[in-house]
Symmetry: none
Subunit: 186 residues, 4 copies
Amino acid sequence: MGRRRSEETRQAILDAALDELTERGYAGLTIEGIAARAGAGKQTIYRWWPSLADVVLDAMLDRAADLVPDPTTGNLAGDLRDFLTATFRQRGPQREILRGLMAQAVLDPVFAEAFRERFIQARRAALRTVLDRGAARGELDPAVDPELLVDVVFGVLWYRLLIGHAPLDDGEGETLAALVLRAAGT
Amino acid sequence: MGRRRSEETRQAILDAALDELTERGYAGLTIEGIAARAGAGKQTIYRWWPSLADVVLDAMLDRAADLVPDPTTGNLAGDLRDFLTATFRQRGPQREILRGLMAQAVLDPVFAEAFRERFIQARRAALRTVLDRGAARGELDPAVDPELLVDVVFGVLWYRLLIGHAPLDDGEGETLAALVLRAAGT
Amino acid sequence: MGRRRSEETRQAILDAALDELTERGYAGLTIEGIAARAGAGKQTIYRWWPSLADVVLDAMLDRAADLVPDPTTGNLAGDLRDFLTATFRQRGPQREILRGLMAQAVLDPVFAEAFRERFIQARRAALRTVLDRGAARGELDPAVDPELLVDVVFGVLWYRLLIGHAPLDDGEGETLAALVLRAAGT
Amino acid sequence: MGRRRSEETRQAILDAALDELTERGYAGLTIEGIAARAGAGKQTIYRWWPSLADVVLDAMLDRAADLVPDPTTGNLAGDLRDFLTATFRQRGPQREILRGLMAQAVLDPVFAEAFRERFIQARRAALRTVLDRGAARGELDPAVDPELLVDVVFGVLWYRLLIGHAPLDDGEGETLAALVLRAAGT
DNA sequence: TCCTAAACGAGACGGTACGTCCTGTCTTTGT
DNA sequence: ACAAAGACAGGACGTACCGTCTCGTTTAGGA
């Protein structure tokens, strides 16, 4: 029995989280700040999310912008290129959010699992699908472990995202796609 | 003029930082905890390090264990394999430290710069040297940007270190070395 | 709305303040010490009292022992004598508390106002009542400003309390009462 | 034997103490602040004065302004009036200094003794001399303890100085002198 | 239509750590 | 030996958030 969870409040909290994130940056996020901005009680946040990072993860996944690319050009080269350019293109608060979530995942093993299962895995699976389709077409050398290729792609992506020493844009996506093909194409 | 910085205290603080890190993990580190364990005043820490992460970075770099590998087998394949196996082999608190430092670098732009310049750059430069020697021997396709190869190697390393979904050991080092050679060798 | 102030905690803090005062003396009082002894958070003290001295003032006023004397013997001489002996008789931590509060009032103008209004004024008013009753009975020379007499009484009291060069007891109370009568009686 | 105490430095410290006192008020005084302003080392202050209050006491006593009045009009009424008006007239930082010193004396028993002996006693003795001269002339009722009269005078002075509820000026000095005469004159 | 139970905003609570300030001591280098 | 400079251990400050805990209030079913 009893009152049901308020969808309105849930949205207000996710919105507030993204707003705070934009204004103060990830390191400036606090439960109190989000609750105050959302006009919600802190308890309401603690009731529904295990940690701050989970709120942010929910907020991000709730936003349409965060679709996983699923290119189907008909050949591995095209699919890889499209996947990588689409992935490298993300902008705005998105990058700051991803950086923050990864930092939290590193510091908090409980959140790490949620992050892996709800975010990382989906991306890996999408790329894996692209590679498997290529393999089925004989475009991939069977001697190369596709999981390693997935690591290479997301490794470069995250490394640059976290360190910030090199750009992440369409051109870089294409360059990396070309390298992966050189390494694993037939 | 005035009293000089106490090297004894400096060491006590770095030691205490590593001890606390081992006992409580990176997320459990506090300035107060380190100061108390070192028998030092907090002010002394604030006087010499801009942030907690800088203390940890100093502590890590001060320990001999973190030598950057510099293999010289005479050919690119051997050098790459040795570099990667040596790099992938690091153990003990080292990994936890690196994960924590990267998380801090993500959350704190000021520390990020120190981390990049004092840690990341040294590793990149070492690998770059290996690649450049290979290129000089004609073992590397000039069409491939060596910086991208560096990103691939450290990208995979960090990605696995942070996500923890796949092992980091000698075998993996060799496998990645082989992939890099396939991608960029002549 | 929200949770109400905890009366239990309030009492624990006032008790802790008096205990600390007895153990360490006024100069040894700290917010941290009181909070720790009361099992309270520091914030709780800061939330309800503007300064340490206000806590002590509250603690003192909360204790029944500090009743203001209001003698009614029927004549000025008796009332004055009773008022002064009762006032000069206070003992135990009371004196240490008063000395400390006066010191704080001197150093902190904000607290000074609270001290004047909540403590000093009540005492002055009580004595003034005694004098006014005497004046109504024609026992006081109208040429003498009763406020000055109040200053004389409390001046001597505080001067001895602060300097500690002379005793404060029943005999001294009677002696001062006699002097005031000589100065202002008819 | 070794370098002698620098009188120049001593003066610089006393000057700095008074300057800081004027700028920040008594509660804002610190050893560090005085040392910095004097261009002196903290150690130098610790070497020569047992506490901050002793520095201030020295500074005040070093200044000519702080002469003890010694009136000689030839009769008790005139002497008392002159003594009290001169005493009540003190102005400027003097009052703030006195208030601060009394607060310190209350909080620090060690300084209290120095304060009593070096400041309070001199004032009491001066007034006592005035009274004793009056007594010798037969102008004082032998039944009244002159020490109590001293307490009355300085009690009213300090009480008003500390509480600040009533003025301290020539008129008040005369009024109090008149009261004392009424109480103890023949 | 009431009853009851959960969710809600609000905000006090016990805690922990923060980064700052000052204390009193010590070391170092002049003078 | 005294002095300026300033690092040191220590301790309290006042603040910010944490996660938990009452408080009324609001919003549902189920009786």
